[in-house]
């Protein structure tokens, strides 16, 4: 596929760009969200999972006799017989046969919290009572949590079949890395650690499964439906035919990645439903979610070198990355594809070296967390640019600005092969300077410092890639593990009924904190001339559904926008034929305007969409023969722009082409005695192309920024050296409160994408992808330290201040 045709975006937009109240909100405000735990059916059982108390141990025996005797217990499955009931979980990792992943531990436990038994009982309370009575005899094995120790020859093995703890290692070179380093005047080097945090939505993952033995149909209500075109893999896990599996989506109380293709919960519920012949609900509790939820975020160690000319011109970056994936590796190393999609940031650099080692240890496995790994890449690059600025004694904004890719260079292909579609980084920079009063703050900083206060200012200029192509899940390998899958589609069906009312059917997860219904309503309103509030948005189950991927990689608004655009065109094409007939006019003489067709030059001669729809539904035999009854159209939107990697993998192709940009300026005051960080000012200017609903994007930016703040200052799934999870609840895993969160000034700059409907780019992950860089720079500036490990907890900040004082 070559570069797509440049679109001419409409000049006047009626609905796109307006902060209309969200379509989703009335039901949520009334407490009628229809979340998965609100869904109950007669005769339903509930399950509880008994979890491993050991980080690494052989399972010698499991005694369920006491649990079975508890009144109300209906069925128990354990590690000893789970393979009788289900196949391994869908696994996109490098060698699924060697790091095999089931819904419960098999033969041995590989992390504290891994399931060893499931109890189905008449209530959750009874199931928990019984789960506590299950006795597991373990033979302890040496626990392994440190990723660098895992690389040592005598390290204990997490998966013996793999014969090492490294499921994946590869060294990539994009461009002339050695040449660029040889040409450099200055090279800065550092080691950096990104700690493991996670989405931790307030609602956990849940599923209600029901198996009909008469029809063979397995129906599972879930709050985590995505990748519907991959659900045949889940059918294989559950040992049901792929056309006898139906997932029904429910709105989700937040995800941030934590529900991305989360199918273990559904698997456990479905397994127990099939065994018991009754509907079964599995609703994770908080401990299930933190300890065993499969969606911890990146956990990385970096050795990085950045090369530049003496004037600050950036040339190349060499990354050596070790990533602690935990006990399994469900999504392969896709999180690093996200880093490589924007590995040069907004800067002109001609090469990238990337040496990646994935490691398995006795921790819960990684999944997705807002940014999907690219937020780590941003932080690393920005930390290195700050180091270079310090080395060359340059203003941190100036070194960034002078290296920006320029507006006339787009489409711009970075050394990894990915395309940046468009941008105007200088414009974002200027807006940020103004909105933040950067120069004023530098003056005030000097005055406040003279008063003995520890004031710091931090800046960052980062990218947000959007709309992933499936190639990034396999371009790591010489050959794809399964097949060279390309698209990650999204679909919609639009139906105009006999009264002219429009229903839009969506096919992936119902709302999970993004605004799918609002986006679709705004797009349909724009395309068909109806009011957004009059559009009814519904969700289809997977078995009657069309291919859909759901939210992830900031893709949904763009992809569903493309689906709505084409489906609307199809509706209008048919409507034009009918209108031409009704108006006794030539189709070519009709123009679409304000929700109807009019005869060109005779605006009084027109038919509204509702009149056309009535004819389409009711008066088939008055219409031309080829027109079928009804007015409905669907469209599968495939990835709009992706290219294949080359065989040598020196170029990964285009895989994340719609690239937004943002700049944050943060002013903090740090208490050097306690390490407390107080936010005095926070400015975020984002460019995600055309903004569909400014207030919604603003909310995503602010919420994402606060999550980034959490990852920067407090949040970490902490395992001690014995593999004990030290943060099993919200009492230890600290989520920012209102008092910890700054008030943001949010600005938008709009550089429309030339390749997407209306010029929209993704914006949902951006806040979290920027905040850590700017906050760390501000803290460094305040107290004269260099943060190299996240989270930078108060304790670590004080340690760094003390170490700096000791010289």
């Amino acid at each position: 596929m070559t570069v797509p045709e440049v679109r001419q975006h409409p000049e006047h937009l009626e609905w796109v760009g307006k902060s209309i109240p969200r379509v989703e909100d009335p039901k949520f405000l009334r407490g009628r969200g229809n979340y998965i735990d609100d869904y109950e059916v007669p005769n339903m059982l509930e399950v509880a999972v008994a979890r491993s108390t050991m980080a690494h141990a052989k399972i010698l025996s499991i005694d369920t006799s006491a649990a079975e005797a508890v009144p109300g217990v209906v069925a128990i499955v354990t590690s000893e017989n789970v393979t009788d009931h289900v196949n391994p979980m869908p696994d996109f990792g490098p060698s699924p046969d060697k790091h095999t992943w089931y819904c419960l531990a098999v033969d041995k436990v590989r992390y504290m919290g891994e399931g060893v038994a499931v109890v189905a009982a008449t209530s959750r309370a009874v199931a928990e009572d019984a789960a506590e009575l299950i006795e597991v005899e373990y033979e302890p094995l040496e626990p392994l949590t440190d990723m660098l120790e895992a690389l040592e020859d005598d390290a204990p093995l997490v998966h013996e079949a793999l014969e090492s703890n490294v499921p994946f290692h590869r060294k990539f070179a994009f461009g002339d890395v050695d040449g660029d380093f040889a040409a450099a005047d200055v090279i800065v080097r550092d080691t950096l650690w990104w700690g493991r945090s996670g989405g931790q939505p307030l609602e956990t993952v849940g599923a209600v499964a029901d198996y009909d033995a008469a029809t063979g149909m397995m129906t599972i209500h879930v709050n985590s439906m995505s990748f519907t075109h991959f659900l045949f893999l889940l059918a294989n896990t559950l040992r049901v035919p792929s056309n006898k599996l139906d997932l029904q989506p429910h709105p989700s109380g937040g995800s941030f990645g934590a529900k991305f293709f989360e199918v273990k919960t559904a698997t456990i519920a479905a397994m127990m439903a099939r065994i018991t012949g009754r509907p079964v609900k599995f609703m994770q509790d908080r401990l299930d979610n933190i300890a065993n939820g499969d969606h911890h975020g990146s956990d990385r160690y970096y050795e990085v070198e950045l090369a530049a000319k003496a004037d600050g011109t950036l040339l190349s970056t060499r990354y050596k990355v070790v990533d602690n994936y935990g006990a399994y590796i469900q999504f392969g190393v896709g999180q690093h594809g996200n880093s490589l999609a924007q590995a040069v940031g907004p800067y002109r650099m001609s090469s990238i070296g990337y040496d990646l080692t994935a490691v398995l240890t006795n921790k819960c496995q990684q999944g997705a967390y807002r940014g999907f790994g690219s937020e780590v890449g941003n932080w690393i690059l920005e930390r290195m640019v700050d180091l270079m600025a310090a080395e060359l004694d340059m203003d941190p904004f100036e070194i960034r600005r002078m290296n920006f890719i320029q507006p006339d260079q787009f489409p711009y292909f970075i050394p990894t092969g990915n395309c940046y579609d468009s941008g105007d980084y200088e414009a974002v920079h200027q807006k940020t300077l103004e909105l933040s009063d950067y120069k004023g703050w530098r003056k005030r900083q000097a005055e406040m410092r003279a008063e003995g206060r520890h004031i710091g200012i931090g800046v960052c200029t980062c990218q947000e890639r959007s709309v992933f192509s499936a190639t990034e899940f396999w371009f790591w390998f010489d050959e794809p593990v399964a097949a060279p899958v390309t698209s990650a589609p999204e679909s919609v069906t639009l139906k105009v009924d006999a009264m002219g009312a429009v229903t839009a059917t969506l096919y992936s997860n119902a709302s999970w904190g993004n605004s799918p219904e609002t986006m679709v309503a705004q797009f349909v309103a724009e395309e068909l001339g109806v009011a957004p509030d009059d559009v009814s948005v519904v969700y289809a189950g997977s078995n009657q559904g069309m291919p859909a991927t759901g939210p992830g990689g900031s893709r949904f608004t763009i992809m569903v926008g493309g689906a709505v655009e084409v489906a609307s065109q199809r509706i209008r094409t048919k409507a034009a034929k009918i209108a031409a007939h009704l108006l006794e006019a030539n189709e070519d003489d009709l123009v679409w305007e304000s929700g109807g067709f009019a005869v060109r030059g005779s605006p009084d001669q027109r038919k509204e969409l509702a009149e056309i729809a009535l004819a389409a539904h009711m008066f088939k035999h008055s219409l031309p023969e080829e027109i079928e009854t009804g007015l409905e159209a669907s469209h599968v939107q495939d990835h709009p722009y992706t290219t294949m990697p080359n065989p040598e993998r020196t170029n990964l192709g285009v895989f994340y082409p719609f690239v937004g940009h943002a700049s944050h300026v943060v002013v903090v005051e740090v208490d050097p005695e306690t390490g407390r960080v107080e936010f005095l000012d926070y400015t975020a200017v984002h460019d995600c192309g055309t903004v569909v609903n400014p207030r919604s994007v603003g909310g995503q930016v602010i919420g994402g920024t606060v999550q980034g703040l959490g990852s920067t200052l407090y949040e970490e799934f902490l395992y001690d050296e014995d593999g004990v999870l030290r943060t099993p609840s919200f009492a230890e895993y600290l989520i920012p409160s209102a008092m910890d969160s700054p008030t943001l000034r949010v600005g938008h700059n709009e550089t429309p994408s030339p390749y997407t409907p209306y010029g929209v780019k993704g914006g949902g992950e951006a806040g979290r992808m920027m905040a850590p860089s700017a906050i760390c720079a501000a803290i460094d500036d305040a107290v004269g330290i260099r943060i190299r490990r996240l989270p930078a907890t108060p304790e670590r900040i004080v340690e760094m201040i003390d170490a700096a004082a000791d010289g």
Binding site: S19, P21, R22, E24, D25, P26, K27, F28, L29, R30, G31, R32, G33, Y35, D37, D38, E40, A125, G199, Q200, P201, L202, E203, T204, P251, S252, G253, G254, S255, F256, D285, R286, S511, W512, G513, N514, S515, R695, S696, G698, G699, Q700, I702, G703, G704, T705, V706, Q707, S729, F730, A731, I735, P736, S737, A738, M739, S741, T743, L744, G767
Partner: protein, 160 residues
């Protein structure tokens, strides 16, 4: 497990029920009475998604037993908009987009109602400190603060 007879007034209607001693108030509301607007996020009293008002004061219903509510007057999110019109607080949350996934929203609304009832003239700082009892993972709180201040102004105007 022993059971106990309790009588509670919920959203103005009096109900009697027999509950297990260990039944949490949140589970009682959700599963026995079908008032599913009260959400459960952590079952530990940390997140506040399960917030209800008892005698006008905010309470974490996940760490209170149903038996402890015997004789109490309880208000849940379902009380705010019994008919077609939403409460001014709900309207303000909608106008300002003070919600994304909606899961913390019922608890946030009830806590905000308590704050406004206590102090109809609250400042942005007081609103922010007031809602810091409740976690929101989506919004970063800013638009919630906006909504609370706007709702307080509306409610003052209605009162006045």
């Amino acid at each position: 497990m022993s059971t106990h007879d309790i009588t509670v007034t919920i959203n103005g209607a009096t109900t009697s029920a027999s509950v297990e001693a260990r039944r949490s108030l949140a589970d009682f509301l959700r599963h026995d009475l079908g008032l599913v607007g009260t959400h459960i996020g952590c079952e530990q009293g940390a997140c506040g998604a399960c917030t209800v008002l008892i005698g006008g004061r905010s309470v974490r219903s996940c760490i209170m037993f149903a038996v402890q509510a015997d004789g109490a007057e309880i208000q849940t999110v379902e009380s705010l908009a019994p008919g077609a019109d939403m409460h001014p607080l709900q309207e303000a949350f909608r106008r300002h987009q003070g919600l994304q996934c909606g899961f913390c929203t019922p608890g946030m609304l009830l806590r905000s109602l308590e704050l406004i009832n206590d102090n109809p003239d609250l400042t942005a700082e007081e609103a922010r400190e007031g809602i810091s009892s409740n976690m929101c993972r989506c919004t970063g709180y800013q638009y919630i603060v906006d909504a609370v201040l706007d709702a307080a102004a509306e409610m003052r105007a209605e009162e006045g």
